[in-house]
């Protein structure tokens, strides 16, 4: 070895079993994981960012069509799902707390609860998608903007209200224009919520592994990084929904 390199003193203390060989200390290992996770979440922001950019442009161009199409989404299901997801962030935070404080059963239970809430969210999403398919509101060859109103009119006769409050609104758009541009809205709706749901599914998969590891007693107050990282991911997916909900469900919903 040449003069440029001196040997740092080598400390020989007992290593935590979870410490990997190329790290010097547990804190170093943890800091690396945390930084890595934040960088990963940054890439996720840009991933969804492309869709948000497209949404923004088309919402400005076709505001009225977006507002009309937005009314086709159910506030009840959307609101319920928002509450479910926020609740699951709480249970997730409790799971991390459990791992930090060496409470094995609590950690496992909170994780299972989080997964259940995630599954509820996905179930509600299935119901919502089902409704869109049934009403020919999936963009593509079979898309039919008028179907929803026609069916409502046929079912309820004269008293049918096509869309809430529609009677008070003067639409500048012809049905033909709506048929075209609301497809952009629904294209974005399905791509955005679809990718969000995919992230939820990945999150649940991740969490089942973490739950199993927690059950095995792999975590303690020195080493709970995987639980914390899954938590960061889960909160991120949650936050994406917090943006999606108003952007997709609440376009001019006050009228």
């Amino acid at each position: 070895m040449s003069n440029a390199v001196a040997q740092a003193d080598h400390h020989a203390h007992a290593h935590h079993p979870a410490q990997q060989h190329h790290f010097d200390t547990m804190p170093q290992q943890k800091e690396a994981a945390v930084l890595g996770m934040w960088v990963f979440l940054l890439t996720e922001i840009l991933f969804f960012g492309g869709l948000f950019a497209a949404y923004m442009i088309y919402r400005v161009w076709y505001f009225e069509a977006f507002a009309e199409a937005s009314r086709r989404l159910s506030l009840f299901w959307g609101g319920l799902n928002t509450a479910v997801l926020i609740g699951s962030s709480l249970t997730m935070a409790m799971a991390v707390r459990g791992a930090q404080t060496n409470k094995r059963t609590a950690t496992v239970n909170w994780l299972i609860l989080t997964m259940i809430l995630g599954a509820v969210f996905l179930g509600v999403k299935v119901i919502e998608y089902q409704d869109k398919f049934a009403n020919y509101e999936v963009p593509g060859a079979t898309y039919n903007w008028m179907y929803h109103d026609e069916r409502a009119a046929a079912a309820g006769g004269e008293h049918a209200a096509p869309a809430p409050g529609a009677a008070h609104r003067q639409l500048a758009l012809s049905p033909g224009q709506l048929q075209r541009t609301t497809q952009i809205y629904f294209s974005l709706y399905f791509t955005m919520t679809g990718l969000h749901a995919l992230h939820m599914i990945i999150g649940i998969g991740l969490m089942s592994v973490i739950t199993w590891m927690a059950w095995q007693g792999k975590f303690d107050d020195q080493y709970y990084t995987p639980v914390e990282m899954s938590g960061l991911y889960w909160h991120f997916v949650d936050i994406v929904w917090i943006f999606l909900f108003p952007l997709l469900y609440l376009v001019e919903r006050h009228q």
Binding site: M1, S2, N3, A4, V5, A6, Q7, A8, H10, Q20, H21, H22, D24, Q28, E31, A32, L35, G36, V39, F40, L42, T43, E44, L46, F47, F48, G49, G50, L51, A53, A54, I57, Y58, W61, Y62, P139, G140, A141, R180, T181, Q183, I184, S187, L188, F190, T191, L195
Partner: protein, 541 residues
């Protein structure tokens, strides 16, 4: 002397010989070697399509292949070369191998993610190669809608899926480097003692991490439009195809810096080592990498001057594009100043470095021509553009890659390659390159459009020159394969530091131990201390 050197008894290459020991390795050096093999294969597949293109263009008529087949040739050439060769080239091979030893670490921060990135790369490559076997793609590597979304009847989706997947390999490499450079530096290895190669990779990683997700989502949007009939870019439903171009170039302009920044980093190492001088203006060179990464994100619409964007937007993007040239020029000036009064040598890596400087300068300056709004209206989509980006991507990025490979080959394998043949190949690459691509500036300026398989008779001379040069260039690329492989068995033993270079990696044995360092090193020197500390020529153990 040289023949008294021995390959060390224990090193990363003989630490397990089974296929398993390679496929499940966590050693960044072995992963780098597997990347090297993978991208070399991709390079030669991409090269075959280039042969097809130049063969067709040897005559003015479209006589070798049909126009449709020709479209597939240039598309698959571009897709493979950009996404499966240039983007991973220097980072995944040289960066992977060298960043940990350069900063005094035993491995990257996430060795398993590093291996995962290689597997992801393989899966992405498999998709793309599969789509080529079942008929290929003809949209151009740019996948512009509406052609790619509806009109083309070729395998757009599998190719796009392949690129989408490979993108994650690039993201994971970048993520790993960022964390490694932040968290794994040895004691004493401060930010301003980092080799410029590491700075360049840090900047590259930022672009990979911030840009690649955008191309990923763009391909998703294209995929759902083509596959499911959604209408995000469909003009018939009020969508905007130009939005696709914005999203595409938001990644793909920065992506050209993913390709060139690492080469700029290699260049700084070569210039300093082979002129035996401290790099001139270290912090300027370091920060110019970051500046390029940042400016790279605000110039994308210079690819869309004639796509119908507003004049004001075009003027702003034209002006901003000029600004990228400033940090690029800072580098070239600083290298020149480093060479000045240095004790320069002509070893093979340095031959590549000299070539790089000239070709990068020409490529960058013609980029300014193209960034000039009024001029680009004339030159857009002509061979001038083709020549411009080949000067940077082939003349710059590949020269940098080859220069780096020749420089660190002794470190990676412990052996020297043939000095004679490597110089011959470096000269062939330089000459062949210029004969291939310089005529394309001329023929493009005369108005020959890109992406056509026939052209007017009077342009034949220049095109034949180009095809002839490509032959020399191609042979220049085959030669290293031969002498590198030969060197593995018969090459002279290199010893730890055959070039008398100053970086930390040269203090290790060649090939290094699996764990790189037995003890955590402590760094006490400034970088590139060629003048201050006595570095013995051809230093041995």
């Amino acid at each position: 002397m040289l023949d008294t050197l021995k390959i060390p008894g224990r090193h990363y290459l003989n630490d397990g010989h089974s296929l398993r020991s390679w496929l499940f390795t966590k050693d960044h050096k072995r992963i780098a070697i597997m990347y090297l093999m993978s991208i070399s294969i991709m390079f030669f597949i991409g090269g075959m399509f280039a042969v097809g293109i130049r063969f067709e263009l040897a005559t003015p008529q479209g006589d070798f292949v049909t126009a449709d087949t020709y479209n597939k040739f240039f598309t698959m050439h571009g897709v493979i070369m950009v996404f499966f060769f240039l983007i991973p080239s220097i980072p995944a091979v040289l960066g992977n191998f060298l960043i940990p030893p350069m900063i005094g670490a035993k491995d990257l921060a996430f060795p398993r993610i590093n291996l995962l990135s290689l597997y992801i790369f393989w899966i992405g490559a498999a998709f793309t190669l599969y789509s080529m076997v079942v008929g290929g793609v003809d949209t151009g590597w740019t996948f512009y809608t509406p052609y790619s979304a509806t009109a083309s009847n070729t395998s757009v989706v599998p190719t796009a899926v392949g690129i989408f997947i490979a993108g994650f390999s690039s993201i994971l490499t970048g993520l790993n480097f960022i964390v490694t450079i932040h968290r794994m530096r040895a004691p004493g290895m401060t930010w301003f003692r980092l080799p410029l190669f590491v700075w360049a990779h840090y900047a590259t990683s930022l672009v990979q991490v911030l840009g690649t997700p955008v191309i990923a989502i763009t391909l998703v949007m294209l995929g759902v439009e083509r596959g499911l009939g959604f209408g995000i870019f469909d003009a018939a439903r009020g969508g905007d195809p130009v939005l696709f171009q914005h999203l595409f170039w938001f990644y793909s302009h920065p992506a050209v810096y993913i390709m060139i920044l690492p080469a700029l980093g290699v260049q700084s190492e070569l210039i300093s080592t082979f002129s035996r001088k401290t790099i001139f203006g270290y912090s300027f060179v370091a920060f110019s990498s970051l500046a390029i990464a940042v400016f790279g994100f605000i110039v994308w619409a210079h690819h869309m001057f004639v796509a119908g964007i507003s004049t004001y937007a075009a003027m702003v993007f034209s002006f901003l594009s000029f600004s990228v040239a400033i940090p690029s020029a800072v580098k070239v000036f600083n290298w020149s100043a480093t060479l000045y009064k240095g004790s320069v040598s002509f070893d093979t890596p340095m031959l590549y470095a000299y070539g790089f400087m000239g070709l990068f300068a020409i490529g960058g300056l013609t980029g300014l021509f193209l960034a000039t709004l009024g001029l680009d209206v004339h030159m857009h989509d002509t061979y001038f553009v083709v020549a411009h980006f080949h000067y940077i991507m082939v003349g710059g990025a590949i020269m940098g890659y080859l220069g780096g490979l020749h420089f660190w080959w002794p470190k990676m394998t412990g052996r020297m390659y043939s000095e004679f043949f490597s110089r011959v190949s470096a000269i062939m690459v330089f000459v062949g390159f210029n004969v291939t691509f310089f005529p394309q500036f001329v023929v493009g300026y005369l108005g020959m459009p890109r992406r056509y398989h026939s052209y007017p008779d009077e342009m034949q001379v220049l095109n034949v020159m180009s095809s002839a040069g490509a032959t020399v260039l191609g042979l220049g690329y085959v030669l290293p394969v031969l002498y590198f492989l030969y060197s593995l068995r018969r090459g002279a033993v290199a010893g730890p530091n055959p070039w008398g270079a100053s970086g930390l990696e040269w203090h290790l044995q060649s090939p290094p131990l699996t764990e790189n360092f037995v003890e955590v090193p402590e760094v006490i020197n400034e970088p590139y201390e060629y003048e201050h500390s006595v570095v013995k020529e051809k230093e041995r153990v």
